[in-house]
Amino acid sequence: MEGFKDKTRVLSPQDIKRVLYRLAHQILEKTPDSNKLALLGIQTRGVFLARRIKAIIKEIEGTDVPLGILDITLYRDDLTAIGPSPLVKETKINFSIDNKVVVLIDDVLFTGRTIRAALDEIMDFGRPQKVELVVLVDRGYRELPIRADFVGKNIPTAQTEHVEVRLEEIDKKDEVVILEKSNK
């Protein structure tokens, strides 16, 4: 990230693996009938996390949980304020979410605005029985009354810092780091 440098690594590849197994177990514990489940990964890194959780559930339960991809750009509340037209990425939910327990998966929970947008978008797709939120990292500083059901790791940060989740699939390595402003 421009103008930032790595400060501390808070999760190693091993940590991430363990956390994801735990989150998968927590999801299943709450909804033992895995046929009711549907996973929705939020673009971009939420999608990769969702894919990994799907694989873990398959490993544990033997069931293929449907997986959808959600891009929330068009539902952002700052779409015209942030300036240059943000890229719209793919949204792909090729199953009905009606009466499903939809598990929304994202990498970092921060202000809560992304999740607000995601919830609005989900409602435009149908009427799930329930929506649960799973995040790898919760770093605090919520601006909306939103809370995750399952959290990989709570990481207290300063507001000036930045939390970056790096995943093998696009970043070539698995880790979570706190970034701070570089002096340069």
Partner: protein, 308 residues
């Protein structure tokens, strides 16, 4: 990054702009397949459809596109307007400007006249057809449809048939396909292919049988009856004889050649009705892509940087 306030002409776009529009359009196509086909992206924005020439297809397509993005849409057409009471086009724009529109989708009869609009409004202008100059969203949807079907826009042989002289669709498509190194042929009566058109870098034909040889894409243009009345060709019978796409002729094109038409089609004039069953579904699919492409263009104009 998107850096255009207005979308006036394909001439003025670069390849990367066209690609950005197509990337968006693909995602908007997905949106149109949802149960609820609307997103709040342009909530609170005002889109004015300002049409000084009749149009049903383009206007309704823009209207629906804007509504799908939750913008407020105001339709203003010449017939209902104060133009008939003697108000000038400029005064009309100034009047609309008092509503602070964010986007004006405009169609006028004068070629290359969109700049006049820019002088009197802060809104983004989207050209929905200016005289015989350009109709950028039509070309974008044509190209999008070709890319979807062929997987590429590179190095294709594209043939445009009909009234090239008066066609903004032809001009926009020529400039568009050329940006992807496709080669363009135009074919029509010698009176309807403009003087010096070869200088634009197209191959000019007056014999459809020859022009069809080995082409990947054919765009058939609509023939307007008034062209016959002003003696550009003596009769529809002669036009059809030489320029109508028939089952026999179509064999000369490459196998799997795409056949498109901006609509509305005069069956048995531009295209033989014997081909209707075979060709109409794809032409309707082409029209359907117009919605996604226009949503993409509206999204880019509506979420542009303020300083543009």
């Amino acid at each position: 990054m998107w850096d255009k306030k207005h979308i006036i002409a394909i001439k003025e776009l670069e390849r990367r702009h066209i690609e950005a529009i197509f990337n968006l359009a693909r995602n908007f196509k997905e949106l149109s397949q949802r149960e609820i086909k609307k997103t709040p992206a342009l909530r609170g924005k005002t889109v004015v459809n300002l049409f000084f020439e009749n149009s049903t297809r383009t206007r309704t397509s823009f209207e629906l596109a804007a509504k799908r993005l939750s913008a407020d849409v105001l339709n203003f057409s010449a017939s209902m307007s104060s133009l008939s009471k003697g108000e000038s086009i400029v005064d009309t724009i100034k009047n609309l400007e008092s509503y602070h529109p964010d986007i004006i989708v405009a169609r006028v009869g004068f070629s290359a006249s969109m700049r006049t609009f820019m002088r009197y409004t802060d809104a983004s202008i989207i050209n929905a057809g200016d005289g015989a100059n350009e109709h950028p969203t039509q070309a974008l949807l044509d190209m999008f449809t070709v890319e979807e079907a062929k997987g590429t826009l590179e190095s294709l042989k594209v043939l445009i048939v009909g009234d090239i002289r008066h066609s903004r669709v032809a001009r926009s498509n020529i400039f568009g396909f050329q940006k992807f190194s496709s080669s363009i042929r135009v074919c029509g009566p010698t009176t309807l292919v403009p003087y010096e058109f070869h200088k634009i870098g197209v191959e000019v034909f007056d014999d459809l049988d020859k022009a069809l040889d080995d082409v990947d894409v054919i765009i058939m243009l609509r023939i307007q009856r008034e062209r016959q009345e002003s003696s550009f060709f003596p009769s529809l019978r002669e036009y059809v004889e030489r320029f109508s796409l028939t089952p026999g002729r179509i064999k000369k094109a490459k196998k799997g050649c795409l056949i498109m038409h901006p609509g509305p089609i005069n069956w048995d004039i531009e295209i033989s009705s014997a081909l209707k069953e075979r060709l109409h579904p794809f032409i309707l699919h082409q029209a359907g892509n117009g919605l996604a492409v226009r949503m993409a263009v509206l999204y880019l104009a509506g979420t542009r940087r303020k300083e543009l």
